[in-house]
Amino acid sequence: MIVSHNEIVAMVYKAFTGMHREVGEADVIASMVAELEMAGLDGVRHFNNASPYILTEQDTPIDIVHQETGAIRFDLHGSSLICHLPAIMDYALEKMGDLDHFQIYLMNCHNRWLAYSELVKLADNGIACLAKWDNGTVPKHTLLTLNQGFVYPDLYFFNEPQDNYNTNDMIIELATANFDIEQEIEHFDHKISTDELFATHQRSWKEGIHVDDEQWAILKKTAAAILVENSEASSKGAGGV
């Protein structure tokens, strides 16, 4: 079905709010999902996949397991990345300061695709970004690069694991100059270019956003958890007729 950007934002906002997590910001998460869906990258499906994890997560802060000049390593304890990444990026950018390069290593996290919008936001700060992660299934490796001056990244997909990262980890590198990725992308199997993402975004605004019916139904069901059943008292709560 075709939905609007505002519908996705509103539905995810309600769905996340209904999960009653202390950690995680509904407006930010709604934007993360909508941006990914606008790019044609299945934001709603990724959020639906994340929902069971989010529902069972503990509302605990993450740990810094190692920190040195130019690098930091977090342990997310199996949490969904969407609840923590905005705070992580704030902290990392602060620590990066005037450095040319900074590496963030995220251990034990889920739903890494949903990092997309937070990484794309870096373009506003004039910072180049490279992010990569391995998966248990094909594509076994994903690499995202965002060059300075570009609004959208390039995405590279690999059918084979590249560096044998833990499949629950993610690496995000920030730099004040563009990354030289020639060697890293030597064996990619599929690419979505920044131009393609731009075109998809434009099309989504103009024609609406195609979302899988089944995935939309799942999201709606999750969002309904916040609704309160009707009653006589409830009806009066609107002020009466």
Binding site: S4, N6, D59, P61, A87, A233, S234, A238, G239, V241
Partner: protein, 575 residues
């Protein structure tokens, strides 16, 4: 330097000394606001006039009972749009203004571009269903309206009998049709607001919705003329143009509007900041005799307007009576007392003992005196809605913001039951927002997070336990649950007006104030609360008709005086 260009001068906004947010964002004052020159309905009509938009009937396919479909074509310098209206038979017991209604007298949409048969079929199948339908994203506004049956039947019968309707009947209501929801911005699959950024026609908040309502008013007037003609034949008269101007479109608004104001704080700040800047651009002007005379005439009109308003709400009736008494006293001595002041700011300050309603009437009237200064602010109503935390700032910086801008929140003791008496939630009935009593009604486990005051207080308490020199970003890693409210406090605490200063959980916090604030920004008139949680108002009441649209003021609608008959009133207004 932030300059606003008035017609023949530039106003340096930075030099305008605005009133404190504690004054402007006080909920009770917001709940007394009235239409001004830069309310959205006023801005829209000036744009229509300036750019010479045209309106024509594209299709008029109604049966003798007035059921069927109608299409109006709106042509702007930029594009073509259509208002598509479906009229359905509705039993009296099915007519319900609440959002939970399932059927309406009239459903309509404002549609971008041409209407082909396929699109028309799609609209016909979905627009009458409203929330239950799935509309094309060519639809920019989706809405519905119910008749004021009493006014509708009376007008049609009178005109069919060759008479004009009884003004006393019209004064009770002020409209023929009453909208019960006007959806825009992507709701139910329609067009998002964001891509309208590039539209010269509808790039401002709620302009498309206001336009749809204005065109519906044209339809409501054409509709009664059509039905009267069907009923009365040759003896029928057309509705008098003065009466047409007097009739606006009604609107029934409930709690749904309140969460919008709380969830879009940057938009609210932008609206109130722009309004305040326009007020100040007026207040700095020296008082001149010519302007004083005009001001006095507007006060007279306001007094008559508030004398004529009919409301069933006793509290509002008392407030209106107070306005009449206060402004009558003010107006009768104005020409003498005005000599005590050199600029309007002094005049307003000297009258801050009056009721908020009267003070706000004065502000609306003053803004009419200087269109060349005030209208230049009309475009500044959109806002970047990002709520952000700063780099390089520490806990003490955030505490400073809370202590300087959120005193209204951090001084509240939420252990006192009355301070968290209500909880807000959404019902399964079309997700309608509702209020419940905490601890007495079910649903507080699914409470909406509209409790900004309580969240700000909790943040303040948590920050007081932290190292004042700790980086905010570091604190948020260890206490992530405060990041959301911290973003809001930091961002809104650095805006000129910031958050609305209201604890919506308090036992005596009337949500009506929030509704009134937003509706007055739209340009609503005739506030008629039907309970403490929903209100009927009119839009475009007193406004010029499309065929005669002009940029002059039309503040405070008055009952027409038909003693001076116009020679020809046989034709309907829209051709």
């Amino acid at each position: 330097m932030n300059l606003v260009h008035a017609s023949n001068e530039s106003i340096d906004v930075a030099t305008l000394s605005l009133r404190s947010p504690d004054v402007v964002m006080n909920a009770e004052r917001l709940g007394a606001m009235h239409q001004t020159r830069i309310s959205f309905v006023r801005t829209l009509l000036r744009k229509i006039d300036r750019e010479k938009w045209t309106l024509s009937r594209h299709l008029w396919d109604l049966d003798d009972n007035g059921y069927g479909q109608v299409i109006y074509r709106l042509q702007t310098p930029e594009y073509k749009y259509h208002l598509v209206v479906f009229c359905n038979e509705l039993a009296d017991d099915e007519r319900n203004d609440r959002v939970i209604a399932q059927k309406w007298d009239v459903t309509f949409g404002l549609v971008f571009g041409e209407i082909g048969q396929e699109l028309l079929d799609n609209l016909k199948a979905n627009v009458p269903l409203q929330e239950a339908g799935r509309n094309s994203n060519m639809v920019m506004v989706l809405a519905r309206a119910n008749k004021s049956v009493r006014v509708f039947d009376h007008i049609v019968s009178a005109l069919a009998d060759g008479k004009q309707p009884d003004l006393d009947v019209l004064a009770q209501v002020g409209y023929i049709l009453r909208t019960t929801a006007v959806y825009g911005n992507g709701k139910f699959g329609i067009y998002d607001f964001k891509p309208l950024d590039h539209s010269e026609d509808f790039n401002q908040s709620f302009r498309a919705q206001m336009c749809a309502v204005y065109l519906l008013r044209e339809f409501s007037l054409d509709w009664v003329d059509f039905l009267a003609k069907k009923k009365g034949g040759s003896k029928t008269v057309a509705l008098h143009p003065e009466i047409k101007r007097y009739l606006g479109i009604g609107n029934a608004t409930g709690l749904g509007m309140a969460p919008y104001l709380i969830n879009h704080p940057c938009v609210v700040d932008q609206w109130l900041t722009t309004r305040e800047e326009a007020v100040q651009a007026t207040l700095v002007c020296a008082i001149e005799a010519e302007k004083t005379e005009y001001f006095e005439s507007l006060l007279k009109r306001a007094i008559q307007h508030f004398t004529e308003i009919v409301t069933i709400n006793e509290q509002q009736a008392t407030l209106n009576a107070t306005v009449v008494a206060e402004l009558t006293s003010l107006q009768s001595a104005l020409m003498t007392t005005i000599e005590d002041y050199t600029i309007w700011a002094e005049f307003l300050q000297a009258h801050n003992h009056l009721s908020f309603e009267s003070q706000e009437v004065i502000i609306s009237c003053l803004m009419e005196l200087y269109p060349e200064r005030v209208d230049s602010f009309q475009e500044k109503v959109n806002a970047d809605e990002n709520l952000i935390l700063p780099k390089g700032k520490v806990i003490q910086d955030l505490l400073n913001v809370l202590e300087s801008r959120y005193q209204w929140a951090i001084t509240i003791d939420f252990n006192e039951p009355e301070n968290s008496y209500w909880f807000w939630y959404r019902s399964v009935d079309k997700e309608e927002p509702r209020m419940g009593v905490r601890g007495q009604e079910p649903g507080d486990d699914r409470e909406l997070s509209l409790d900004i005051a309580r969240q700000a207080k909790n943040l303040y308490l948590a920050l007081q336990q932290a190292d004042p020199q700790q980086l905010i970003s570091e604190f948020m890693l260890s206490k992530p649950k405060y990041r959301s409210i911290a973003r809001r406090v930091w961002t809104m605490g650095h805006k000129k007006m910031g958050d609305i200063q209201m604890n919506v959980l308090h036992k005596n916090a009337p949500p009506m104030h929030l509704l009134r604030c937003k509706l007055s920004m739209f340009g609503a008139t005739k506030f008629d609360p039907r309970s403490d949680r929903w209100v009927r108002i009119t839009l475009f009441q007193g406004a010029p008709l499309f065929s005669e649209v002009h940029s002059d003021e039309w503040l405070f609608p008055l009952l027409p005086n038909l003693s001076k008959e116009e020679p020809s009133i046989k034709e309907s207004s829209t051709q």
